[in-house]
């Protein structure tokens, strides 16, 4: 934490853990004998318990969405610019819940937890989890917190997919849904990127078929490659050109394979820092959850029919330079939603920041979120 807390920060937050003792049946046919979900909350729940917003994280996120866990933290939570007093997700008005998904590596039950059946780490034996499994586990957390119905469920990218799944799985429990830089399912190109990332991890000599922890090693090179590849797809060509151009680190070509261009240095740095905080098995699980997500599948591919049961009011936001989840993908969602009879608004934000734009402050983007949530809040007041 650099300097004193700013007045629009949620401040120091303590992560908490929710323990569910009963078994949870998973989409893959297996079950978890019980599980822990790590979560944080910001703001306070009102007397009617109607002002809660669930924030769902993306591929490499966790429960730490806003504020600081320790005074000497270098960075706040991943969506700190958006969540706080007076911020678009206003903690003066809303009670925000953010949790780390099942299969995660930040304290929720996942590959690094002990499998009670064997007494060993789950590792690669951890069952494949889906977006729907996550949503069901989040609903149990909501029960635990006494939240019958969320004022909003929000998320970007894979988080947006969870928010979408919420509206189908628990239509009566979601007043509104914010689907940001999301898509109704992955394209073949998206799946291809995920597959290359997984292959990079699994072909690392230190991977040991997922049992690397028991060998006391980490498949660093593979995980780093996966992250480097991911990063390329999260940025836009224009942003990379603007940030790095073809700038050389030493001002001259060295005709070798060491880092010469600034972009190479940036990607390596991103890859290396990621390896220190993220787990390879979790990365495999999360990308699989992305690949499998397809709520229309049970309705002969008819997304409008899948969404016809939703009761939420929707906000869909896309970013012009996002080619990983391009605006056309968001428009598929919008079309299915209004065809299915839902109330939906759509904003296409002009931004150079690629897919990462959903994590960054942007006047128009935040203006849209604020306007939508102010409306949600005003209607809570009327309902009260």
């Amino acid at each position: 934490m650099v300097g004193p807390l700013s007045p629009d920060s949620v401040g120091l937050v303590e992560p908490r853990s929710f323990r569910h003792e009963q078994p949870l049946a998973l989409d893959c046919g297996r079950e978890l004998p019980g599980f822990d979900l790590k979560y944080e909350t910001y703001g306070s729940l009102n007397a009617a318990r109607s002002n809660a917003i669930l924030v769902c994280h993306a591929l490499s996120g966790d429960h730490h969405a806003a504020g600081w866990n320790a005074p000497d933290d270098k960075r706040p939570g991943w969506w700190d610019n958006c969540i706080g007093p007076g911020k678009p997700i206003d903690t003066d008005k809303f009670f925000v819940v953010a949790c780390n998904n099942l299969g995660g590596c930040a304290g929720s039950t996942g590959p690094n937890s002990i499998n009670p059946a064997t007494g060993r780490l789950w590792g690669p034996d951890f069952p494949i989890v889906t977006v729907r499994d996550w949503v069901r586990s989040q609903a149990l957390l909501a029960d635990h917190l006494g939240i019958e119905r969320f004022a909003a469920v929000a998320g970007g990218s894979l988080g947006g997919m969870q928010a979408l799944q919420w509206t189908i799985e628990f239509p009566g429990r979601v007043r509104s849904a914010l689907l940001i830089a999301a898509a109704p399912r992955l394209s073949a190109q998206n799946i291809a990127f995920n597959e290359v990332a997984r292959k990079a991890i699994m072909s690392d000599p230190d991977f040991h078929e997922g049992r690397y922890a028991e060998q006391g090693v980490v498949p660093r090179r593979g995980l780093m490659l996966a992250r480097m590849l991911g990063h390329i797809t999260y940025l836009s060509d224009g942003l990379m050109r603007q940030k790095f151009g073809r700038e050389l680190r030493e001002g001259k070509l060295n005709f070798g394979f060491d880092v010469e261009f600034q972009i190479e240095s940036y990607l390596r740095h991103q890859g290396e820092t990621f390896v220190d905080r993220f787990d390879a098995n979790t990365y495999l699980l999360m990308t699989k959850a992305l690949d499998y997500f397809d709520p229309a599948a049970e309705y002969d591919g008819d997304l409008a029919r899948a969404l016809a049961r939703a009761q939420a009011r929707f906000l869909v936001v896309a970013f012009s330079s996002d080619w990983r989840f391009a605006p056309e993908r968001s428009r598929e969602l919008v079309k299915a939603l209004h065809t299915g009879g839902s109330a939906v608004s759509y904003a296409a934000i002009d931004s150079p920041d690629g897919h990462d734009a959903f994590l960054l402050p942007n006047e128009h983007y935040f203006g849209v979120l604020r306007a939508f949530l102010n409306r949600v809040h005003a209607e809570l007041e009327v309902a009260a």
Binding site: K335, H338, V344, S345, A347, I349, H364, V368, A371
Partner: protein, 243 residues
């Protein structure tokens, strides 16, 4: 086909409807003149698509006053934000890209007020309006108005008026037309005009605009449908705004 200047189509002043519209609470108080006129044509409880919906004023009014549901399409982000703020469903998009995201027959009315003249393919969009909706409603500034004619004929410059306030190099309007032009386009496209109102720039009706609409009308409003649509014959009496 109705003759281009057939006065039978004109809607005459309906003070009781004007009053009813302005009596409604806050949503109504800032209602734009063209919107107030259009709102009178909308059957309660219908489903509406408003092309170029701006800040959502018309849809908010229709929702409050006529229990209408629907969507707006708007290109400018600040207006999109305004729509979202007032709880109007808005889809940010460019009308020049068409209405392909909307299913055939999914709306009762597709409205386009003071926007027709600013799109690249007005004829194509009119047809799209009647694919997506049962009826279309447009309002546009009449370039045949006396003032325009005088400015062009004697001033030798592109007209600037309260209905057409921007200079030629600043205006969004790229396809200006007259009342006669519009009606002949409707004829070509097989569009049946159900109602027409011609007003001045303050959206008031006048005897002059009724007698000589193409010469003395500044803004023209039309409600129309597909001529081939035998399943839905014109039923203006349902709208309760005939004299």
């Amino acid at each position: 086909m109705t003759a281009p200047t057939d006065r039978r189509l004109d809607t005459v002043g309906q003070p009781h409807l004007q009053r009813r519209a302005t009596d409604r609470q806050h949503e109504t108080s800032h209602l734009r003149g063209d919107h107030a006129l259009i709102a009178q044509w909308i059957r309660p409880g219908s489903r509406v698509l408003d092309l170029g919906c701006g800040d959502g004023g018309l849809l908010a009014h229709l929702r409050a006053a006529r229990a209408v549901t629907g969507y707006g399409i708007e290109l400018q982000i600040d207006k999109v934000v305004r729509c979202i703020e007032r709880g109007v469903n808005v889809i940010q998009g460019d009308l020049d890209a068409g209405l392909a995201d909307f299913d055939t027959g999914s709306f009762d009315y597709v409205i386009m007020s003071l926007t027709l003249q600013a799109v690249y393919f007005p004829a194509r969009l009119l047809e799209e309006m009647l694919r997506v909706g049962r009826e279309g409603i447009v309002a546009f500034p009449n370039f045949g108005h006396l003032n325009c004619r005088l400015q062009l004929a004697f001033g030798g410059h592109m007209p600037v008026s309260s209905a057409l306030p921007e200079t030629w190099y600043e205006t969004d309007n790229i396809h200006l037309c007259t009342i006669r032009d519009f009606e002949s386009l409707c004829h070509t496209l097989g569009i049946r005009i159900l109602q027409r109102t011609v007003v001045n720039h303050q959206h008031r009706r006048s005897l002059g605009a009724r007698l000589l609409p193409n010469l003395l009308g500044e803004v023209a409003l039309y409600r129309f449908e597909r001529k081939t649509d035998l399943g839905h014959p014109a039923a203006p009496s349902l709208h309760g705004d005939r004299p």
